[in-house]
């Protein structure tokens, strides 16, 4: 899906060029646009205009009080000045370790650094296991590992809330059985040191989708390549790095981009698991959660919009950097495209 984005952006035609078109191709254009029109309309109405509106809001002082919108006033860069000073947003790295209020941006980055490698390696490892030639019943395993992905989010939070309960949860019972002292059992979601692992465990449960995508990538590697490597006497490590990895690099790239974009917007899990309070000790006040609360709880439209545009810019820059690096390590077989 991403290969399209990795190539040079095609140009929009000039109006003069359209005017010069033959009537037949002009009809084709008209029909094509007609079929595209539901999306074109939807894109403008539900994506493009709201984005612009968010930008405009960030220069106003809009609030909602009791369901009534305040009269907007242009305030210039006031909201952005506030964003720079806001310790809860914490977008200035020099204040990250001196401020008393934990920076929600730092929390987001810390969690992303912790969760991202697992989010790539766990599905890749599982897919490699599923693709092992000696594994019997691959189809059944594949479905069963996928299944938790379709469990409703709230239900999975409840399941893991039970599993990770300090006293009655099975995880702590197993730890107790393995000889962990009762006092040192983790408090999981209520423990500053264990809350991120708790989230990651809940996240790993839903790796089925990424696993299937990676598995499909692995199965698409031509077997002749492996045969050739065998003839050359390559060991399995060399085979992985020189054949498997380059061949599935587009799939890894796809998951990497989606994971990073997702992690920077992470907030639903802390919203439900820790009630969106930032407990324990402010460790779960993620940036997007703070944004959510600024708008939905404190009804500050303009400052929420400012937070939103900053997040958008951060994600945009990261995505652009990722795409720029892609040409060094992502390999698209058969570069010619239609």
């Amino acid at each position: 899906m991403l290969e399209q984005l990795n190539t040079r952006l095609p140009k929009l035609p000039s109006l003069a060029a359209v005017r010069k078109m033959q009537s037949l191709s002009r009809r084709e254009m008209r029909n094509g646009l007609l079929f595209l029109s539901p999306w074109l309309f939807g894109f403008v109405a539900f994506t493009f205009l709201p984005m612009i509106a968010t930008l405009i809001f960030s220069f106003l002082n809009l609030r909602i009080t009791d369901g009534i919108f305040s009269t907007p006033k242009f305030v210039g860069f006031d909201n952005y000045a506030q964003l720079l000073k806001d310790p809860q947003a914490g977008i200035v790295p020099t204040t990250w370790f001196s401020s008393k209020t934990p920076s929600s941006l730092l929390i987001t980055i810390k969690f992303a650094l912790f969760a991202l490698p697992i989010g790539i390696l766990a599905p890749l490892g599982l897919a490699l296991l599923m693709n092992n030639q000696y594994l019997k019943g691959q189809f059944v395993f594949r479905s069963l590992f996928y299944m938790p992905f379709i469990v409703p989010f709230v239900a999975s939070v409840f399941l893991w809330g039970g599993m990770l309960n300090t006293e009655t949860g099975w995880i702590n019972r197993v730890l107790l059985f393995l000889g962990v002292a009762k006092e040192s059992l983790p408090q999981w979601a209520n423990d500053v040191n264990w809350v991120y692992p708790t989230y990651v465990i809940m996240g790993i449960w839903g790796i089925g989708n990424a696993m299937l995508i990676m598995l499909a990538g692995l199965q698409g590697v031509p077997t002749e390549l492996y045969d050739a490597a065998k003839v050359d006497g390559a060991n399995s490590w060399a085979t992985f790095w020189n054949i498997t990895f380059p061949m599935i690099s587009p799939v890894i790239f796809y998951n990497l981009v989606l994971d990073i974009v997702g992690l920077f917007q992470y907030f639903l899990v802390p919203l439900v698991v820790n009630a969106g309070t930032g407990r324990p000790g402010g460790a779960t006040m993620f940036y997007n959660l703070y944004l959510y609360k600024t708008f939905f709880t404190y009804q500050n439209m303009s400052y929420g919009s400012t937070l939103a545009w900053f997040l958008f810019l951060v994600i945009l820059i990261i995505t652009i950097v990722l795409f720029a690096t892609a040409k060094y390590w992502v390999y698209y077989a058969g570069e010619t495209r239609s």
């Binding site: 399209q4 984005l5 095609p10 074109l40 709201p50 909602i64 000696y134 938790p148 958008f312």
Partner: protein
């Protein structure tokens, strides 16, 4: 022969490793089922078994009495060297000696054992409490039946909108050549990576201004305007279909809509089914949308929102929470097993195809 044995050992080893991983991976389901069948009493007792069980009572002379596990060597009239234990109903509790009857041997009547009843254990017998499901069914906000119809309504209506709009748009991308098409396609794909935060505030405010927060409109309407994932899925599939049929139909003067309806769609059932099941699972599980737009309109709640409110109401009753979770996940799981072939196909197209 040697090679065969080695393959056999490798197979057994790998399969066992994956199997044990799977057991761990699926253990939350076991936890959910087991917990959902426990009684509230069992959960509050320290040292109660892990499976759903109850401590039996016995009705003796119209009175409910507890049952204890008694070492028979302490009882009058039994072998003093015996190591056997029996589950007996207590009729008189005492510190030094207690009186029991044997429910399996009533003819013997009451007899005395030299035991303090406090030192005895009460036995647990397997006893699933199906009552929990009845209770959840009735007490979940709106009642389960209403949640089911609400959620189904949302899933089906938006599914229709998604399928129709995405097929139209994908057909436009797959079968028409015009300048600017590839640019628009890239814009479409880019929306997958657009953070929702940058559009949600004006969108929500817009629906609020219209007075439609609390209704289904904000959740349903956008689905009639196509989305990148499903357009991509349909487009990839349509591009694999041979063009000859379309072209000959066009020669015969068929309109594009006619070609889509009579030639493309009949060849595309696998991908249509994939989108349908994906979408139904998505809509069934959708939590954030209904949470922000419907949280004040309780009568419209889908199952996800009702379930999350359940946590606050029954925080101290894990058996009801787990029963509620099971009632929420059972339908998507069934749908998945019925249609898994199409699921897998759809995922492969989005992730791997260019």
């Amino acid at each position: 022969m040697n090679k065969k044995i080695r393959t056999g050992i490798n197979s057994t080893f790998i399969t066992l490793v994956v199997l044990s991983l799977l057991v761990v991976f699926l253990s939350p389901f076991a936890f959910m089922m087991v917990t959902s069948l426990k009684t509230r009493e069992q959960i509050s007792v320290v040292g109660a078994p892990i499976w759903p069980a109850a401590q039996p009572k016995y009705t003796y002379n119209d009175k409910e009495v507890d049952v204890f596990t008694v070492p028979m060597s302490k009882c009058a009239g039994f072998d003093a060297n015996s190591t056997a234990t029996k589950n007996l109903a207590i009729t008189k509790k005492g510190r030094q000696e207690s009186t029991f009857v044997d429910p399996d041997d009533l003819a013997r009547g009451e007899f005395v054992c030299q035991v303090s009843w406090r030192a005895l254990d009460r036995p647990w017998i397997f006893s699933p409490s199906w009552q929990n499901y009845v209770e959840v069914w009735k007490t979940i906000p709106n009642g389960y039946w209403r949640l089911l119809t609400n959620t189904t309504f949302y899933a089906v209506v938006t599914m229709i909108g998604t399928v129709i709009s995405c097929i139209l748009v994908a057909f436009g991308f797959a079968r028409f050549r015009f300048p600017g098409r590839d640019f628009l396609f890239i814009v479409l794909i880019s929306t997958i990576f657009l953070p929702g935060a940058v559009t949600i505030i004006p969108t929500y405010s817009f629906w609020q201004k219209l007075g439609l927060v609390g209704t289904w409109y904000p959740l349903i309407v956008p689905h009639f305007f196509a989305n990148a994932y499903n357009v991509f899925l349909f487009r990839q599939y349509f591009m694999t279909l041979p063009r000859e049929l379309d072209e000959s139909a066009m020669m015969d003067g068929a309109s594009p809509l006619r070609i889509l309806w009579s030639i493309i769609i009949p060849q595309s059932y696998p991908v249509i089914i994939a989108v349908v099941v994906f979408h139904i699972v998505f809509a069934w599980n959708d939590y954030f949308g209904p949470l922000i737009y419907l949280s004040t309109a309780r009568q419209n709640w889908p199952i996800s929102v009702a379930l999350s409110s359940f946590n606050g109401i029954y925080g101290s009753q894990p058996q009801l929470i787990q029963a509620g979770a099971l009632l929420a996940l059972i339908l998507p799981v069934i749908l998945f097993f019925v249609a898994q072939r199409f699921f897998v196909q759809g995922i492969v197209i989005t992730g791997v195809e260019k």
